[in-house]
């Protein structure tokens, strides 16, 4: 139990970082209505791009910006495969993801792992987040405002504000319309192909950025770090929805709930590990949990009759 409580700040920090990735998944899965599997590859692309640039002396923020752009490029490829080449969205994502494995290896100079040098306190101090900061703040050797929860929390809040603004603009509205009803969108003069590509780019840009943050947190980029990212993202989206859908109707708050969803996911994982589960079973556990949550809405429609109250509400709307 003590182990679990000690591990909580770390779990929350990680959850917040993965939460940015989950917000990216939310944009494709919920807004555009596309299941985009590119993220498993573009997460590592972001990490690899960041680590390689950073260790070669590039400014931290420029390296993060480069990660964002690299992810957007990955999204662009998936988008073009889907719209211009007419390949189904899922398959387009899988193709990009597969190709990205080689590209990620190439970025990292054909090494499976590239570490960030944090051997001296000065080098470590330059990073935005690191898992060592969690302990340092607890020990009092580092000021509280360097705590990853606070730093990534603010980072997430800024991203949510930008996305909230964007999806309220004319362009953002046309993206939402494209995901809601393509026929309607086209009839209203919206270039749906362009919107899908743009949505995929924004989504994968965020995923990549999340990868860059995790690479800093772990002070390394690793070729397999994005494996299963899509499932974690979906889990966060679903958990956030189940927990907060009644409470949050505002779009910004919905994005916030995705981030919370990712935190809950990591706390649960931490709890399961504390109970002594072999970590190798984690992926199976994630897959099972997500499968169950994805089935619930279907089962609800099929096997459970609507309550009389909801039936009446619907008929008064008719």
């Amino acid at each position: 139990m003590l182990n679990f409580i000690n591990a909580l700040p770390g779990a929350i920090s990680q959850g917040l970082i993965w939460g940015i990735m989950a917000i990216g998944v939310y944009i494709t899965y919920k807004i555009l209505d596309i299941a985009d599997l590119t993220v498993d590859g573009s997460f590592c692309t972001g990490a690899a791009t960041f680590v390689v640039l950073y260790t070669n002396g590039t400014n931290l923020w420029i390296a993060m910006l480069a990660s964002l752009l690299a992810g957007m490029l990955a999204g662009l490829v998936t988008g073009i495969l889907h719209t211009f080449c007419g390949i189904p969205a899922i398959l387009s994502g899988i193709l990009t993801q597969l190709g990205l494995w080689s590209i990620n290896m190439a970025i990292m100079g054909m090494k499976a792992t590239v570490a960030i040098n944090v051997s001296t306190p000065e080098l470590l101090d330059k990073l935005l987040v690191s898992l060592r900061f969690v302990k340092d703040v607890a020990n009092g050797t580092r000021p509280f405002y360097r705590h990853p929860i606070l730093v990534v929390g603010i980072f997430t809040a800024i991203l949510i504000l930008i996305l909230y603004w964007f999806f309220g603009t004319e362009l953002g509205c046309s993206l939402r319309a494209t995901g809601s009803n393509q026929n309607m969108a086209r009839a209203q003069g919206i270039n749906t192909d362009f919107c899908k590509v743009l949505g995929l780019m924004i989504s994968n840009g965020l995923v990549s950025l999340s990868g860059a943050l995790l690479a800093q947190y772990n002070s390394a980029s690793e070729i397999n770090m994005g494996r299963g990212a899509i499932v974690i993202g979906l889990a966060a989206v679903i958990i956030g929805e189940v927990a907060f859908s009644k409470l949050f109707r505002n779009f910004g708050l919905k994005l916030f709930s995705v981030s919370i969803g990712a935190i809950i996911y990591y706390i649960v994982i931490q709890a399961v590990l504390a109970m002594g589960l072999n970590p190798n079973y984690l992926k199976l556990l994630s897959a099972v949990v997500v499968a169950i949550f994805l089935s619930i809405p279907y089962w609800k429609n099929k096997y459970i009759r609507a309550s009389v109250k909801t039936t009446k509400e619907v008929s008064t709307n008719a």
Binding site: F166, G168, T169, E170, L171, G172, C173, S174, R176, A177, G179, S180, N181, N183, M184, A185, R186, A187, Q188, G189, I190, N191, T192, N317, A318
Partner: protein, 264 residues
């Protein structure tokens, strides 16, 4: 306003399902024409409307709207000229977006969409007023999701959306077919009003011969991918259903089609 010249369209060419849907259709609509389109199942009515809207490219022929050749323009670019209401009430609106957001999307049809707000405060008030005029009780809940509306409410909203940015051409594709008779009558009446108020050039596909005669100033009947009857003006005003049936059997050369038309 609309000029269709000799358009042809074959679906599934070269397969057992090959279907010549349009076989040299030509039609010219003048500014302010309200043309009703009738015909049996598979006559090519909806195909003609979709060809004009740009849902698919035609195999041959040209289409121009208001003097602009749109034959090779994609659907979303043609939308600048065209307002549409579909047969399926689900098709014309974005269900996960609010009523006023749908209207705001329609108000920007044909304009470039940038980073200005998707809906302004002034617009919200304006839309509420428009919804009040619709008289469907929607003015009280402009921020409701459209997915919660009934089919009739949606079709009325789609009509309003189609006319918001005055189109050069309004296409109504059996837009009352999926509604109950009472709602259908109301939506039809609303269509008449919107067409008259905005002086819109309109094509309306319908299965109902009475509606086809009662509305508009021109009537065309399609059969087997061609326009076989085209009446307008005084001649159309005097037209009755039996006369129309007689005309049809003369042109199509068969009687059996009568029942099909009447029943459908």
């Amino acid at each position: 306003m609309l000029e269709i010249k000799e358009i042809w369209k074959t679906f599934n060419a070269g397969t057992v399902n090959e279907k010549q849907a349009l076989r040299g259709v030509s039609l010219t609509l003048n500014d302010g024409d309200f043309c009703t389109v009738i015909g049996g199942n598979g006559a090519g009515k909806s195909t003609m409307l979709n060809a004009v809207a740009g849902t698919f490219p035609v195999d041959a022929g040209t289409i121009s709207i208001g003097g602009t050749d749109v034959t090779h323009l994609p659907e979303f670019k043609r939308a600048k000229f065209i307002g549409r209401v579909f047969q399926d009430p689900m098709m014309g609106t974005a269900p996960t977006m609010q009523i006023d957001e749908n209207l705001a999307l329609a108000a920007r049809r044909g304009q470039s969409r940038g980073l200005k707000w998707g809906i302004t405060k002034a617009e919200k008030e304006q839309y509420q007023e428009m919804l009040r005029k619709l008289d469907l009780g929607l003015e009280d809940r402009p921020t409701s999701k459209v997915g919660l509306l009934s089919g009739g409410q949606r079709q009325a909203l789609t009509l309003l959306m189609a006319s918001l940015q005055k189109p050069k051409l309004l296409l109504l594709d059996e837009h009352t077919a999926a509604l109950d008779p009472k709602t259908a009558a109301k939506v039809l009446e609303l269509s008449d009003r919107i067409v008259a108020e905005n002086h819109l050039t309109t094509m309306m596909v319908t299965h109902n011969m009475k509606d086809a005669i009662a509305h508009g100033n021109r009537l065309i009947m399609m059969y087997n991918g061609r326009i076989v009857i085209d009446v307008s003006g005084e001649e159309k005003k005097k037209l009755t259903v039996p006369q129309l049936l007689e005309l049809f059997s003369k042109v199509s050369g068969s009687d059996e089609a009568d029942d099909k038309l009447l029943l459908s």
